[in-house]
């Protein structure tokens, strides 16, 4: 995925390959500007110029076994696919709901666009039912977005996402704008709804610790590239990439032994001018000379856990204890 700028194309997301299994929650973490949202928007085909997908594919396997590439879908096919199979919940529900129409009518129009056989009354009943399912009372269907609180708006956005019973819901930082208490309620709600409806979730956040309680698997992005992915437990207990380690150690733990807050020194790199070799090496505690020369490949370090770091390669020598199964938490 490139952003075309005045000074040439910027590779916002480069060489990322991910698999989302049916019904699972995949967490996508990374700093601001690491390409998480660009990736998600590219998958949903919502990128706007100057962003373009230069190469790649998004293969969707239907329940009946057939597979389609989203990036090659025609306009009509894409329109039918959208929301029916893949819905999106945006970061700020304040901005993702149309301010001039009621919440109910925003559920209604998606039903009307996809299912012409439903009557007005059926659609209204469905909207009320959906809103009630996420904890919004029926009379609120006639409310405008500005009449709802932040948490309610995000619930409404989730209700709209559920309208057509999609297979996948992409949640782009759905709780970032909310306070912690509301945030926890919404996360619980999402998990409960997932149990009930069985959709898969791509959960995007910069808050890695939040993913640990949510996700089945976690993928960590840095500078538009995938640096580590694996089962949530594994990534949490034994991060294999220094960046993941830094992210985990940048939040104080409430329980367990005290440990040093490490954080990550420096700032994310300018995507127009990536450092040679591993893009993370200027900020990495474990960097050696080879890191500035050689770009690490994503390799399977542990069963099902992949990391792109030379420390796990043959040229590095002994793996730093923090990045091995013996270290960290």
């Amino acid at each position: 995925m490139d952003y075309l700028t005045g000074s040439g194309a910027v590779h916002a997301v480069d060489g990322v390959s991910l698999t989302l299994r049916r019904g699972e929650i995949l967490g996508l973490a990374g700093e601001s500007g690491s390409g998480k949202s660009t990736l998600a928007n590219a998958v949903a085909r919502l990128l706007r110029p100057p962003a373009v997908v230069t190469a790649g594919s998004v293969t969707y396997h239907r329940a009946d076994g057939s597979a389609t590439d989203l990036l090659r879908m025609g306009k009509q096919e894409l329109r039918r696919f959208r929301w029916k199979e893949l819905a999106v919940v945006f970061q700020s529900a304040m901005n993702s709901l149309n301010p001039v129409t009621t919440v109910g009518s925003q559920v209604d129009d998606v039903l009307r666009a996809h299912d012409r056989s439903m009557s007005t009354v059926e659609r209204r009943d469905r909207a009320v039912e959906l809103l009630r399912r996420v904890g919004i009372s029926a009379d609120r269907a006639k409310s405008y977005p500005h009449e709802l609180s932040g948490g309610m708006r995000q619930r409404a956005a989730i209700a709209i996402a559920l309208a057509l019973n999609p297979e996948i819901i992409i949640m782009d930082e759905p709780t970032t704008a909310l306070d912690v208490v509301v945030q926890r309620d919404i996360l619980r709600e999402i998990k409960a709804l997932r149990e009930e409806y069985g959709f898969a979730v791509v959960f995007i956040t910069h808050d890695l610790s939040l993913l640990l309680s949510m996700a089945d698997r976690i993928a960590v992005m840095y500078a538009g590239q995938l640096v580590e992915h694996g089962a949530a437990r594994d990534v949490h207990d034994h991060p294999r990439h220094p960046y993941t380690l830094g992210l985990l150690r940048s939040f104080p733990k409430l329980r367990g032994p005290r440990e040093e807050l490490l954080g990550i020194p420096g700032t994310p790199p300018d995507l127009r001018d990536l450092p040679p070799g591993c893009p993370f090496h200027p900020r990495c505690r474990f960097a050696v000379d080879a890191c500035s020369a050689e770009q690490p490949e994503l390799t399977e370090v542990h069963s099902g856990q992949w990391a792109a770091c030379l420390a796990h390669g043959p040229s590095y020598g002994p793996v730093p204890v923090e990045l091995s199964a013996g270290g960290s938490r």
Binding site: R80, S96, P99, V100, D109, A113, Y144, I160
Partner: protein
């Protein structure tokens, strides 16, 4: 509802202020219309005639305060005094005769300009990066050209050279005024050129205003979400993007509706159109104070009414204004 009532109260006070200023300004100037007339006739009028004229024009003297009350009383009965240029016709009937023409021509042209301009703006923003981007410089160019020049050029090409369209007047003299098909047809036929002039002169504002707001609106999350919902492009474009983008434009539209009443002076002159613009010009040329005063009063009241209309539209279109702030 309370919001509207509050606005209404505000407009009533503003209207009162406008009326009062309208009353004061001519009286703050030295002399009065009769003195002017007398001066023009080199003072060869006997005092009785002057007194009679002063009575006829409602210049009865007395304190400013009592004049003010008389003025308000007359206004309540719709009496605006008598025109000097067209003596003894009443100002109200002079305005009444010109206003329908202006409202018809300038009003309809303003609405056409708004509808077409807004539509073009929406589409130009939606398909930006295509050939539609060239609409903007084209319409801006047309607006940059002085509009009376556009009017003259239109008269030259379509009226004189091609003789397709009439070049002056509001209707042919050979049809009987009245609500007949012939008369209405003749009216529409005569309105084409002046209307085109007004549309051409004002459309760039509309296109540009709408396009710019629309481009910003298209970047909003709710538009992206509408697209992700799999709604048809038409629905995303109109019900989500344009529906929100139009709100700031409503104000400028209703305000321009208010100024419709003032007529389009140069257009009306070029096409010898019998609207308020021509009357206003005549009044200014002849120092016809009662007539000017009447026209200015009508204009200020129309602008206020248009403002109120804008508020009404806002309340209807934007649910956020319905809440008490």
């Amino acid at each position: 509802m309370r919001y509207l009532l509050r606005r209404l109260g505000f407009y009533l006070i503003t209207a009162w202020a406008a009326i009062t200023i309208n009353f004061l300004i001519p009286r703050l100037m030295p002399g009065d219309p009769v003195d002017l007339m007398v001066a023009r006739m080199n003072g060869q009028i006997d005092p009785d005639a002057i007194a009679a004229m002063k009575r006829a024009f409602g210049l009865t003297g007395g304190s400013l305060w009592s004049q003010y009350w008389t003025y308000l009383g007359n206004l309540a009965h719709g009496e605006l005094g008598r025109s000097i240029t067209m003596y003894p016709t009443e100002v109200s009937s002079v305005i009444g005769g010109a206003l329908p023409w202006t409202l018809g021509l300038v009003g309809i042209a303003t609405i056409i300009s708004y509808v077409i301009g807004t539509g073009l703006g929406v589409v130009a923003a939606w398909r930006r990066g295509t050939w539609l981007d060239s609409i903007l410089p084209a319409t801006t160019f047309l607006q940059a050209v002085p509009y009376f020049w556009v009017a003259l050029a239109l008269v030259m090409v379509f009226g004189v050279t091609l003789s397709w369209l009439p070049v002056s007047g509001a209707y042919s003299l050979d049809v009987e005024p009245g609500f007949t098909g012939d008369f209405l047809g003749s009216m529409a036929y005569h309105a084409i050129l002046p209307a085109i002039t007004i549309v051409v002169a004002s459309i760039a504002d509309r296109v540009m205003g709408m396009r710019n707001v629309m481009v910003t609106t298209l970047g909003e999350d709710y538009v992206t979400m509408a697209e992700a919902k799999g709604l048809t492009s038409r629905r995303v474009m109109w019900a989500y993007a344009a529906r929100n983008a139009i709100l700031p434009n409503i104000t400028s539209f209703t305000l321009s509706l208010g100024f419709v009443v003032g007529g389009s002076v140069l257009t009306e002159i070029v096409f010898s159109y019998p609207g308020i613009g021509s009357v206003l010009l005549k009044a200014v040329e002849n120092e016809d104070f009662p007539l000017m005063q009447g026209i200015f009063l009508i204009i200020s009241l129309a602008v206020l009414a248009a403002n109120f209309l804008a508020d009404l539209c806002y309340v209807a279109l934007d649910p956020r204004t319905r809440q008490e702030a």
